[in-house]
Symmetry: C2
Subunit: 342 residues, 2 copies
Amino acid sequence: MKLQRGSQSLLFDTPVYIRSRASVVGKKEGEGPLGKLFDQSIEDPLFGTNTWEEAESKFLRTAGEMAIKKAGLSSEEIRYAFAGDLLGQLIATSFGMEPLHIPLFGLYGACANIGSALSLGAMAVAAGYGDHVLCLASSHFGSAEKQFRYPLEYGNQKPLSATYTVTGSGAFVLSKKPDPKGKVPLKITGITTGKIVDYGVRDAQNMGGAMAPAASHVIYQSLRDFSRSIRDYDKIVTGDLGVIGQTILLKLLKDNGIDISELHMDCGIEIFDPKRQDTHSGGSGCACSASVLAAFLLKNLEDGKWKRILFVPTGALFSTVSFNEGNPVPGIAHGIIIEREE
Amino acid sequence: MKLQRGSQSLLFDTPVYIRSRASVVGKKEGEGPLGKLFDQSIEDPLFGTNTWEEAESKFLRTAGEMAIKKAGLSSEEIRYAFAGDLLGQLIATSFGMEPLHIPLFGLYGACANIGSALSLGAMAVAAGYGDHVLCLASSHFGSAEKQFRYPLEYGNQKPLSATYTVTGSGAFVLSKKPDPKGKVPLKITGITTGKIVDYGVRDAQNMGGAMAPAASHVIYQSLRDFSRSIRDYDKIVTGDLGVIGQTILLKLLKDNGIDISELHMDCGIEIFDPKRQDTHSGGSGCACSASVLAAFLLKNLEDGKWKRILFVPTGALFSTVSFNEGNPVPGIAHGIIIEREE
């Protein structure tokens, strides 16, 4: 399909199937409201390794290997991997992906990484560049706190606007053909690629606020590009805005004449129970949207609860270096349209 | 073209033209052997900004804007940008790309970033996902030293195996059609995507040694995938191995029956004069291969000196965190086949 000038979207002529999915998360995620839906919940936050970073790599690799296995494939059959994490120089990805020996495109779009990965993966499969590609992303509470905040040993308090980084990884095999043993084919039918949106947010403990403008832009743009209304979707699901970010998102869209309050969902709000788990504004990190998509959102599509969703992973382009130099935190978000094939 | 199983390569049926290119570098690069070929050489290492990181963003943005202008386009006509740098959370890219308002895929493949960018950009154009895409990468001596080494104020000495990070950026507009005013069409006809290769290198001052195995893998694989011999290329050009890395690359390939010593070139060796400029093993950083491709390699193709090259940007997946935790430095490299259209 040809989309008009100014469009940021692609509609795939060839179906791109989500052939398999896997989610491997930490203990806290396993104890949350979606706990039973994840493929694996690992008790040990170090996952048997010596460092947070190695643990994160292991979450990523485990999810990737599981997705490949569930797809009935071997890693040699995966043409490309599209992967990312939050750490400097993408070390969770580099060390996690090395043993898989798959041609790799490392991605950085903060917590929106799974959005970049699924977009590029779907583009590659739809173009016939490979029969199967692997898309995955990871984050880890320990490695993220070390990278972005304070040593865990400080036991510092966080404001209620802060989110809690999800430990784990979500992985997906995209293919030209659906899983022959699958219940019902699930497919990516279109994407809307986001731009960097900078609203000048300078509160390093309010990533939801930094990301909400980017999410509102991409949702608005996607609806416009595809000439769709919100009634064409059963859910519009953001990545990790949390409750504060959600409020801002709903307001920004409402100011532009779009009221998604009835069908908005946020992976960061779904994954934890803030009262019971002391997770403040919600979950965040690359693994938040990736693992919730794998375990929960796709299941609802598969079970026929929903027919079509707009999945919008969100990323805050936060760095301690740029932040300490006085810069704001811009956001980015990517839209992925996922449907159940009837 | 269908390539056999086990291939890591794509041959594009549709030509992907390098419609324009731009290179903006620092003072030292401007004083080097290729100095006169760069579009712009900026005297002030801070490029009028307050920090190394902001300066790097400005190099990236300036090169990107120049490439778009040279292509006779506006930024609204660019469908996607594929961009990366070396800094944690890709801040040079995030802040550099924000004002351009182009749908963005941020990439991290260390100094091989321009290889990932050109690969994904060519894939997008060949598939018809956009008429024009922008591919770019940056690095900066000041921001890289701050990120990876010691404060510049220490004035620490480096071993002769160390390379000198290139300050600047190289940017390219890839299009379905060549520049109507261009001398001769230049095109990307194929790509070979690299895997992470870990030879266990643990010398943080010898990035050439860390990257050479990845470069040798991708060159070997590319020749095999396309059933070509080295005689099918006028040059095989790596990104930033430097003189130490070059020696290792030539040996690794020779051990596998391939002698590229006659036609190998390395951007890191070309960009500086080590005797006059005290740059030890050579230049490095994302901007090294990107700016040398823009200013020098493509010019030689355009001038008819060469007809076809295999361009292999190289990246060392080095992070102070993983390194200080005792991990080695794995490498990655991507191959891009660039030809002059006769």
